[in-house]
């Protein structure tokens, strides 16, 4: 059989949990809005990996359909997010979120 299916499910869960944590820590620690966006994408892709792994594990197509939905929705989200960041960059001249303080935090 395919070598990918000989890897136990736990390894997939650990890998995606790790990726998810890296993304989450990135969102919490980094200060550049673009990098924050990339970290959010990393989180979503960790989830995609998890869905695909579970989908194979349960022999159920639902998980893979969900992956497709997440990909498209994430693309829409990124388009909106990038547009917002560009708008902010034009007004404030920076993408460092610590410097955005016209509203008190």
């Amino acid at each position: 059989m395919n070598i990918l299916q000989t890897i136990p499910l736990n390894h997939y869960i650990m890998l995606s949990a790790l990726l998810f944590s890296i993304g989450a820590m990135g969102v919490l620690l980094r200060r550049n809005a673009i990098i924050l966006l990339m970290c959010v994408e990393l989180m979503l892709n960790a989830v995609n990996l998890l869905f695909a792994a579970f989908s194979v594990h349960h022999a159920d197509g639902g998980g893979q359909v969900m992956v497709i939905f997440i990909m498209t929705v994430a693309a829409a989200e990124v388009a909106v997010g990038l547009a917002i960041i560009v708008m902010m960059f034009r007004k404030a001249g920076t993408t460092d979120i610590n410097l955005f303080d016209t509203l008190k935090w």
Partner: protein
């Protein structure tokens, strides 16, 4: 086979790439000069800084491309099973593409596709 193959692959990849760099460091005498660090064969010296800002128009096109491109991922599952699904699915896909087309019309009307 199986896990041991992956292990062998990883080790040989590390040895091969790290070994090359290491051998270069050990064997070659370093004598840097200005001519050596120039771009050659596939480029010329840049004029000004290489960090230039692109026209924001590219970015707008990229966003629109991204949306329409990614929506097409929905067509893959349909394409794989198109024969079994038959006419109903075909009509549904056409409706889906029609809605995307309406979105395209809207983007066109808003001037998102005009070069600024």
């Amino acid at each position: 086979m199986g896990e041991s193959a992956i292990l062998v692959l990883i080790i040989s990849a590390v040895v091969f790439s790290a070994g090359g760099i290491l051998a270069g460091k050990l064997l070659v005498k370093s004598k840097p000069s200005k001519v050596k660090s120039e771009a050659y064969e596939c480029g010329v010296q840049t004029i000004g800084k290489s960090w230039v800002q692109f026209n924001v128009g590219y970015y707008l096109f990229a966003l629109i491309f991204l949306i329409f491109d990614v929506e097409l991922v929905f067509l893959y599952p349909w394409a794989v099973a198109a024969k079994q699904l038959g006419w109903v699915a075909l009509i549904e896909v056409i409706i889906f593409l029609f809605i995307l087309f309406l979105g395209f019309l809207y983007a066109h009307k808003k001037g998102a596709l005009r070069w600024m």
